[in-house]
């Protein structure tokens, strides 16, 4: 946070959380926060330029064991983005798996100031935090994986949702995490035996189904005043015909009353879950069916996981899925199962416009954005780096804003795009207000961060501002893309961190974490079971497990009291 005053004058402001849709307006910042007025400010002239709150990414893999395993096993990716150090910046490397410094700089250049690390294996949480600390500029948080955990499954089996709540509360605290992450529930545990699970299969040895895991975790999560819902990567990701599994997963939380005005489930990288057909041969888009569900229901929010063409590094706790992908490509494959908790799979992948399957995947991500009517229900992501690196966001933005660009691009893709996707028949074009919603407003609200100053420019909000070098009337897709790639200014906590596309300051970001407050008796009862797990099955001791305060030097704590 910078001390002093800043005035951003005459910009055209898009602040959807506060209903500001392209109004010419001044933004005043004092000591890092948005205020009514300032007296003796530094002035930035934003005349005629697009001004938005700092971007908020709801789901991205930027830090931790699997991201780094991705970097480590891809020196060929590392050599792609090398940039020498400057007086201000550390050296950069990497494209799909950039180093920590490049991650911070590149997001900041796009006007983003908050990124959620989407998957933190609890046992390796210290690693995630070590990297988050090393990512300059960005405020951050991380989602601990809590669905394939033996403790979770045992409580699901016994039906003790209160004890399950005590467990997730303890784990979120122990990992300095933000909310409950679910990745291929049951399937990742099954993968430890080289198997997988569909939504209603029994998890080997545990006598529960993935559907039961998801439902119980949603119930347990809502027992606290949690800012965010459960964050779900469902079963059968990336399998042809999985869209019915997807909607069945959504159905699981129907009727669960969320703590606040947000859905009870956030379903992530929906592109990978919107597949029709029965094989890769007759693979087709079911974005329409998924969008239809989202349009008719209020209990699920989504993010896109939209494809960026080119080479990338796929990585997920969904081990069996990565294995399938590796079997298709025969390229390198890393797997890392994590005892009692989760797993990791990583393999490089090339999305090619010449491939019919990749073409349809590419169409699906954008179709979802275009077919879901209410932009407040979705966030722009590429599930970085799974569907492509985050640095491709401006491409997606320009596509959504320009039917012309979509038509031109479709011409370069495999011809299946004309008959196995709706892509070419959709005329909708996003306006800047909608772009502001899917790149900051929606994510901030869904994560509950708008109450903590993120994703908007109301009085008291964080002084995080992106000023794009474009007029609100701009229709040229190329110019839009360029503007969203490198801001004229990015301001973080009232400090100019990017100017004319160059990083000029690198303050440290804050780590946001949630402290669910659970009844002590419940916690004690749960701990008896948990300590037994450490005594017999974990390979580290109980007392060395929780993340020490030293790993979060810039903490922002959000308390989540028990609800009743």
């Amino acid at each position: 946070m910078a001390e002093g005053e800043l005035l951003i004058r005459n910009g055209v402001v898009y602040d959807p959380i506060n209903g500001v849709k392209g109004e010419k307006k001044d933004i005043c910042i004092r000591d890092g926060k948005v205020v009514e007025s300032v007296t003796n400010p530094k002035v930035i002239d934003a005349e005629g330029r697009v001004v938005m709150p700092g971007g908020v990414d709801i789901h991205s893999h930027i830090a931790g064991g699997k991201v780094n395993a991705g970097r480590l096993f891809r020196p060929e990716d590392g050599r792609k983005g090398v940039k020498a150090r400057t007086k201000v910046c550390r050296q950069e490397s990497g494209y799909s798996v950039p180093n920590t410094f490049a991650t911070g700089y590149r997001y900041a250049r796009m006007g983003y100031t908050f990124v959620m690390e989407a998957a933190m294996p609890p046992l390796a949480a210290r690693h995630t935090h070590e990297e988050l600390v090393d990512i300059p500029i960005l405020d951050n948080a991380a989602l601990p994986l809590l669905d394939n955990n033996w403790m979770t499954m045992e409580y699901v089996k016994s039906g003790d949702t209160d004890l399950l709540a005590a467990y997730i509360a303890w784990m979120i605290k122990a990992t300095k995490g933000y909310s409950v992450k679910v990745v291929n529930p049951g399937g990742t545990e099954a993968w430890a035996w080289a198997k997988n699970c569909d939504l209603n299969d029994e998890v080997p040895y545990f006598d529960v189904t993935p559907a039961e895991i998801v439902k119980n975790l949603a119930v347990a999560n809502e027992k606290f005043e949690m800012p965010h819902s459960i964050h779900v990567h469902g079963n059968m990701l990336g399998h042809p015909g999985n869209y019915e599994v997807t909607t069945s997963t959504y159905d699981l939380v129907k009727g669960i009353k969320p703590y606040r005005d947000r859905p009870a489930m956030h379903a992530t990288h929906t592109q990978f879950h919107s597949y029709g057909g029965t094989t890769w041969g007759n693979f087709e888009s079911k974005a329409g069916a998924i969008a239809d569900y989202i349009n008719k229901n209020e209990h699920v929010s989504i993010d896109l996981g939209s494809i960026i063409l080119g080479d990338t590094t796929t990585m997920t706790a969904d081990g069996p899925m990565e294995y399938s992908l590796y079997q298709i490509t025969g390229r390198k494959w890393t797997n890392h199962d994590v005892e009692l908790e989760t797993g990791t799979g990583i393999t490089p992948f090339l999305y090619s416009g010449k491939s019919p399957v990749n073409t349809i995947q590419w169409a699906i991500g954008q179709e979802l954005a275009l077919l879901v009517k209410d932009p407040w229900k979705l966030a722009l992501t590429t599930d970085h780096p799974n569907a492509g690196p985050f640095i491709g966001y401006p491409i997606i933005i320009s596509m959504l804003m320009s039917k012309k660009r979509r038509d031109e691009s479709a011409e370069d893709m495999h011809k299946v795009i004309f008959d196995r996707a709706e892509y070419c028949s959709i005329d909708r074009e996003y306006d800047l207000n909608e772009i502001a919603i899917i790149t900051r407003g929606m994510a901030a609200k869904t994560l509950g961060l708008h109450e903590h100053g993120k994703g908007h420019l109301g009085i008291g909000a964080d002084g995080d501002v992106a000023i794009y070098d474009m007029s609100p009337e701009e229709t040229d897709a190329g110019k839009i893309q360029k503007a969203f790639l490198n801001t004229k200014y990015t301001i973080k906590g009232g400090e100019v961190v990017v100017k004319d596309g160059e990083v000029v300051a690198t303050p440290a970001g804050k780590t946001y974490f949630v402290t669910p407050e659970c009844d002590e008796k419940l916690t004690d009862e749960m701990l008896v079971k948990l300590k037994d797990k450490f005594e017999h099955y974990y390979s580290v001791s109980f007392n060395n497990y929780p993340v020490q305060d030293a790993y979060v030097p810039n903490p922002y704590e959000i308390k989540a009291p028990w609800r009743s």
Binding site: R74, G78, Q91, W193, S539, N544
Partner: protein, 434 residues
């Protein structure tokens, strides 16, 4: 007397964290539980480098920390091709400052992986690593293969805590439910415990691994009657055990990384794992040596994109083991100064490379005197991580664990020493207008 529990061992890649020690008069007086003979020896302590020193006319003269740090900074700031080497027996917090210093002065930064499991890293870069945490092995593995690894000597708690002898959820009866295969040139203490011992001809690992792959994929017809000194029937028996296991793991050590073929032998071992995975669950894991060699690889990777042998001469990272790895730089006489921290090339590098090291200015940062001290020009004593200083380390399966501080010390921790050198270097460069 105070008893401290859950002490974390800072010796080998096992990073045992259930040790109990007694501390009296600010000294570890007893290791009560958990540590192996080697770890215990570390916790109980050895003779120290007593004070900072600078070499003058051939012998080390004691000086203050300030003087030693200043001298170190002067040497580094004036260097055209400095090497910053070591980093494995210290904490990640110090390693981070090391990378920053390397960027600041345009140095090559390398760590002990380059003479230990560097080839494993190179192999992973070609084919990836199907692996898991050690607890997975403990709970599930019914087939354990040690290949070119002798945990009985090098990782004395490994079998007990994590693999053959440990008891877990699906392995309640310990080694009764498990099979042990050992592949080695010598009949080691570990080999003596094995259900199957494949005594391999030195240097023939690659051939044996290729044969195993052919057998796992079902091409028995092409494999000759003997490969690398091992009869085909023994290979077939091993393959049968692999296929019939529910969860198999290969642990490999320096018998593989040091042998002919180096990283490609490991690629082949990983390919065997991939082939076995078409039948059952199979994983593979390098037996990392130093307690935080995995950690410097992690830090170096997230900060530069690459795990070791990183040349930051041009201000950005150029990664190439075999070119900018420490031994190569020294044998080729490429570097003109060296900072050695938390490692001992004097003892662990080939003589050929020590010859150059002895000729150039060397800065040593270490708690203990060792062969490197014999030719170091600036010697800076450090606190012992895990005894006198805390910090993060990564176990051989990349699980991060925080070392505990057990006693107080006057010695400065590595992180602080590095930060002060960096500050001094910056001050010198600022003065020079760079």
């Amino acid at each position: 007397m105070v008893e401290i529990t859950d002490v974390v061992c800072s010796l080998c890649g096992c990073v045992c964290d259930d040790i109990v020690v007694e501390v009296e008069d600010n000294k570890v007086t007893k290791v009560k539980k958990g540590a192996c003979a080697v770890g215990k020896s570390k916790l109980m302590g050895h003779g120290r480098i007593e004070e900072p020193a600078i070499r003058e006319n051939g012998s080390l003269k004691a000086c203050s920390y300030d003087d030693a740090i200043k001298k170190a900074a002067e040497i580094l700031a004036a260097s055209r091709r400095p090497l910053l080497y070591g980093w494995s027996s210290t904490v990640c917090e110090a390693d981070k400052v090391g990378v920053e210093l390397a960027e600041e002065i345009g140095a090559v930064i390398d760590n002990t992986a380059s003479v230990c499991h560097g080839p494993s890293v190179l192999a992973i870069q070609d084919v990836g690593l199907p692996s898991c945490t050690l607890g997975e092995v403990k709970n599930r593995a019914d087939l354990i293969i040690y290949w070119g690894a002798n945990p009985a000597a090098a990782h004395a708690n490994h079998m007990k805590r994590y693999s053959y002898i440990s008891k877990g959820y699906w392995t309640e009866e310990g080694k009764k439910n498990k099979k042990l295969v050992v592949v080695d040139v010598r009949r080691t203490a570990t080999a003596k415990m094995a259900d199957v011992f494949l005594q391999i001809e030195q240097g023939k690992d690659y051939l044996v691994l290729s044969a195993l792959r052919a057998l796992l994929y079902g091409y028995e017809d092409v494999v000759p009657e003997e490969v690398g000194g091992i009869p085909k029937k023994d290979l077939l028996e091993t393959v049968k055990m692999m296929k019939e296991s529910k969860f198999g793991i290969i642990f490999f050590g320096m018998g593989v990384t040091h042998t002919r073929g180096r990283h490609n032998t490991i690629v082949n071992a990983i390919e065997v794992t991939r082939a076995a995975h078409t039948h059952t669950k199979f994983s593979i894991m390098p037996m990392r040596g130093h307690y935080n060699v995995a950690g410097i690889n992690q830090v170096c990777t997230w900060e530069t994109g690459f795990p070791f042998a990183v040349d930051l001469t041009r201000g950005y990272a150029w990664y190439n083991p075999g070119e900018v790895s420490a031994t190569d730089l020294l044998i080729r006489r490429e570097c003109d100064t060296a900072l050695i921290i938390a490692s001992d090339p004097g003892a662990h590098f080939p003589g050929e490379s020590i010859r150059h090291l002895a000729k150039i200015p060397v800065i040593q940062i270490d708690p203990f005197p060792n062969p490197t001290t014999e030719f170091a020009d600036v010697v800076i004593p450090a606190a012992i991580s895990g005894v006198e200083a805390e910090g993060n380390v990564y176990r051989m399966d990349n699980i991060p664990i925080r070392l505990r501080k057990l006693v107080d010390t006057e010695y400065i921790a590595d992180e602080e020493i590095m930060k002060r050198i960096l500050e001094e270097v910056r001050a010198i460069r600022e003065k020079e207008g760079e």
